[in-house]
Subunit: 304 residues, 2 copies
């Protein structure tokens, strides 16, 4: 089934205790699209880049069968750049710089051929822009939205309005608490359901992820990795794996949502094993299935 | 199968945002014994109390079929008292006071009838005392030990010596990191295996628990509770549920260890639902089985 992805395309400069990269391909729309591309086609990307955006990244995305008709290029401008530094325990991240550049005036335009997409994934951008996307398209089967503490704090009203049109929201644990002023994650998820989305996914980093609906709670483990090179993009890869699986199977049953959460966790676990998007470059559906099975082994127990 | 439990018997004074209790029955040996008592018999407790220890608590423990032959009573002394305060998010705890009283001079004496116990659970006490227990008994089938940051910091050498005789160690995530200076929990667990115990259980509070052996990693979810009244004793209840199930089934296979971790999580989840040990007073094996099944539902997913 078709999937529309709207978000950022960025050049990331990242330092970790294990090394660093400069101007590496990044951005929420890229991670989501590449991750989802292992499951479904067509993937339709809407984002903006500057005239400095390297042709090799365009070629890579095209090679992944990503439809770039909605990728605006502002020739006179520079691509969005983000710089961050991770510390030894990798749970703490300092943002070193955020140069919005052409992203500052980004106004998502949905090409006519993209307007009837079956599934939509709104990467972590200004909730006003997310809403503007939804206003341009025909009603999709499912809208997945991501957000972050910055928007919760600076644009709470706009976010509340946009959330009413999301079927699924993906947040991390601290964002869930910030959004609801509720420390207990189950209570927080139930409060978020009252804000609009009927499916809440709370990512908990090394502790896995949780799916909460009106009548279900599902707890997925994190993959037990001994070496995490670069956590950048893990959340977006999760979103891509999740919606990719849903779009592939076109099945919105609770049991299939659970599988989608595990596929999200699977893509996130691959993502952090190398720098930038590198580990998502040479995956295969077979490798992904193998790790899905490892997730099963990791959490399965039976009765005596 | 028989289970020997050594640890503290205490009178706890606890404040939480939901209320408070004064001089309530507590202590690691009590929580472990009461929790394990739902699974197996006999439970043999070794600990110390002062002359002020209320007779009603003795009666309660006797009613739970706990053999108190090893409970020393120092008539001239006062029972160990601990006071703590939990804050709104219940993850942060301040110790208000620790009056060791008779526990200060506690020298565990194992009664002759207790020396050949099939299973042994060493509650969180001075590692030197844990070792002194092991020196008095015949080799049991399995030794489970608990410890805490205080012993890791103040008696690291003694702890290292004692750990060599433990088959299973139960720690929480921060203790695992402190013990190994390793932020990654999988690496930390593998380092602990080199210290002696072949089975490592890392408790992660609201994020569940993890079982690590040389060739297995198992991740158990936490039970999604919306109301946690009092976290006191949750870790000890976990240990009691874990070893209780093992002693009941007398099965040390990996699959059964996984079940034991879930039974530990089950008992911990009951523990925190009321103040002090109250919720462990009126459980039944049937209620425990029901919640074990809920844990299954919570984490189970299948292939398409």
């Amino acid at each position: 089934m078709s999937l529309l992805v709207v978000g950022s395309v960025a050049l990331d400069t990242v330092e970790t205790p294990f090394g660093s990269v400069k101007d590496a391909l990044g951005g929420s729309a890229v991670y989501i699209s590449v991750a989802a591309g292992y499951f479904t086609t067509p993937i339709r990307l809407v984002a903006v880049v500057g005239g400095d955006f390297p042709q090799e990244h365009i070629k890579f995305m095209e090679s992944r069968q990503i439809d770039l008709d909605g990728l605006q290029s502002v020739e006179s401008g520079k691509t969005f750049r983000w710089g961050g530094k991770y510390h030894y325990d990798l749970n703490v991240r300092d943002t070193l710089f955020t140069d919005l550049n052409v992203f500052k005036d980004f106004d998502p335009k949905i090409p006519p051929g993209f307007k009837s997409s079956t599934y939509v994934c709104l990467g972590n951008i200004d909730p006003l822009l997310q809403l503007r996307v939804l206003n341009q398209i025909n009603k999709p089967r499912l809208v997945v939205g991501d957000t972050m503490n910055y928007w919760i704090e600076t644009k709470p009203n706009e976010l509340m309005k946009t959330m009413k049109f999301m079927d699924v929201i993906i947040v991390n644990d601290s964002e869930a608490r910030l959004l609801t002023h509720e420390p207990n994650l189950i209570k927080a998820a139930k409060k978020i359901i009252k804000m609009g989305p009927r499916i809440i996914i709370i990512k908990k980093g090394e502790h896995g992820a949780m799916l909460v609906t009106e009548d279900t709670i599902f707890s997925a483990p994190a993959f037990p990795l001994e070496t995490i090179f670069d956590p950048t993009g893990a959340g977006d890869s999760f979103a891509g794996g999740f919606i990719g699986w849903i779009a592939r199977t076109d099945d919105l049953s609770t049991e299939n949502l659970k599988r989608a959460v595990v596929y999200g966790s699977t893509l996130a676990s691959f993502c952090v094993e190398k720098f930038s998007i590198d580990s998502l470059r040479d995956l295969s559906y077979l490798k992904i299935r193998d790790r899905f099975h490892s997730f099963m082994d990791l959490s399965r127990f039976d009765e005596k």
